[in-house]
């Protein structure tokens, strides 16, 4: 490995690989080596699967600083995942243009400005009655089923799928197939071949969708983008893929894992049920405590520079651990304690900097409506299996439960 500054004690240790194993019996806690790394230094050496030595950021302030500093570039060149996750072997070379998550300002800013109008607070607030309707409809179906049911399949997956489909203007008859492809792309058990196939089929569906929007633009985001902007079909494809990836998996797993976390803290759940004014605070604390985006964001140093007293070299890959940053004792008192009254608003669950989640208001809305509607509908909601039987998604970019069997 290359030593940059010999005087920095933490730099002399053997670089860690990126940890993914959760402590046994603590499905909500980040892998233990993150806390060890942070205790040494909020920025430590990290070994990537191909042997590259880059950095791991585990501190809240350092994480915010890295994500807000565009010298840490988002361009795909040289970017590596800190772990081999299913799908990470898929080449990023063939990605369509318009995937603004892989851009830096000012190119990134252009796309972001074209899209932001669809995710403003005002716009999202207008969506509330519709999201409530969708949640109620799913809960009606769940109730008819009598239980036990898998909450992931019955509620946590369909709610964001319905919301996102409607926002994008995806016809009702295409939604099942569309979600199936997305599932393959995010599944632990998919082969590379299955993923390539789903990617191709999904691309075809989205191209057809974009074509239809151009011919007969609706009031949805795609329809509006075809009328109001000069974005090409390929750019629209990239944008749509980003919105899908960002809008589906994260919200699904926050809904299911969040429900699991609430059920695992029955006293606080009872307090919440008794006083729904605690809901927004509970959502923020769940976002902080669970931080389901568990691998990355990843950046690449675009130049040599000094950062927090360290020499950063061009090409160094930097991974910010959001779950680690959100358990930083310098940012949160007793960070490993779940406390819905904490008022934990300064977390990094949505990232920070120019790439901070554009859909954060929408995510909060879906979570608030989702949790409240579910808990009100089923006052005696409980796990239908012992907690130790609930499997988790340790090797996926988005953490969560594989299934959450519940009864009421």
């Amino acid at each position: 490995m290359t030593q940059t500054t010999q005087s920095q004690e933490s730099e002399n240790r053997l670089p860690r690989p990126f940890p993914t194993a959760r402590p046994s019996g603590c499905p909500f806690d980040p892998p233990a080596p993150f806390a060890e790394a942070r205790a040494e230094c909020p920025v430590t050496p990290l070994r990537y699967p191909d042997g590259h030595i880059g950095r791991l950021v585990t501190g809240l302030a350092s994480g915010r600083a890295v994500l807000g500093d565009t010298r840490f570039s988002s361009l795909p060149a040289g970017k590596r995942s800190p772990v081999m996750t299913p799908g990470s072997e898929l080449s990023t070379d063939a990605l369509p243009t318009g995937m603004f998550v892989n851009m830096d300002p000012p190119e990134h800013t252009r796309y972001r400005r074209l899209l932001s109008k669809h995710f403003t607070i005002r716009r999202v607030r207008e969506l509330r009655p519709r999201v409530q309707e969708m949640a109620d409809r799913l809960l009606d179906a769940m109730e008819r089923d009598c239980g036990p049911v898998d909450l992931v399949e019955a509620f946590a997956k369909p709610l964001p799928t319905l919301v996102t489909s409607e926002l994008l203007g995806l016809p009702e008859e295409d939604r099942a197939e569309f979600r199936r492809h997305v599932d393959v792309l995010f599944s632990l058990s998919s082969s590379g071949e299955e993923m390539r196939q789903s990617m191709t089929l999904l691309g075809g569906m989205l191209h057809a969708l974009i074509g239809a929007a151009r011919e007969d633009p609706g009031p949805d985001i795609l329809g509006r983008l075809t009328v109001e902007t000069d974005l090409s079909d390929e750019e629209l494809l990239g944008i749509t893929i980003v919105l899908l990836i960002a809008g589906l998996e994260t919200t699904t797993h926050m809904l299911a894992l969040g429900t699991y976390a609430l059920l695992s803290h029955p006293e606080q759940l009872a307090e919440l049920r008794a006083d729904w004014s605690l809901l927004d605070g509970a959502v923020e604390e769940l976002l902080r405590y669970l931080s389901v985006v568990q691998i990355g964001p990843v950046r690449v140093a675009a130049e040599d520079f000094e950062f927090e007293g360290r020499s950063i070299r061009t090409g160094e890959v930097v991974t910010v651990s959001l779950p680690a940053a959100n358990r930083d004792p310098l940012g949160f008192e007793n960070p490993d304690v779940f406390d819905i009254r904490r008022g934990a608003t300064r977390h990094l669950a949505f990232g920070s900097g120019p790439h901070q989640c554009m859909g954060h208001h929408l995510a909060r809305l879906e979570l608030a409506v989702g949790y409240e509607s579910l808990l009100r509908r089923f006052p005696r909601l409980e796990l239908a299996v012992p907690a130790e039987e609930i499997g988790t998604r340790e090797m996926m970019v988005t953490y969560g439960v594989l299934a959450l069997p519940v009864r009421w």
Binding site: L67, G68, P105, T109, R112, R113, L114, L115, S116, K117, F119, T120, I121, R122, T345, R346, G351, S352, G353, P354, H355, Q356, M358, H360, H361
Partner: protein, 63 residues
């Protein structure tokens, strides 16, 4: 308290609008910040400071 914003760097997150409505608003066309009140009263200080701190691209400065 005097607030200044750098709208060029704004990413349209709208966190400031959530925290300090009446001081900040969001443009309906591109989501970027609109400063409604550059000199709000002292009673808004805590909210404005949190908005500045939580702004993802740090475009709000207070003097």
């Amino acid at each position: 308290m005097r607030i200044e914003i750098d709208r060029d760097l704004c990413c349209g997150a709208g966190t400031c609008v959530l925290l300090a409505p009446g001081v900040f608003d969001q443009d309906d066309e591109d989501g970027t910040v609109i400063l409604l009140d550059a000199t709000p009263g002292a009673g808004r200080r805590a909210a404005v400071e949190e908005a500045a701190e939580r702004c993802p691209t740090a475009v709000i400065s207070i003097t």
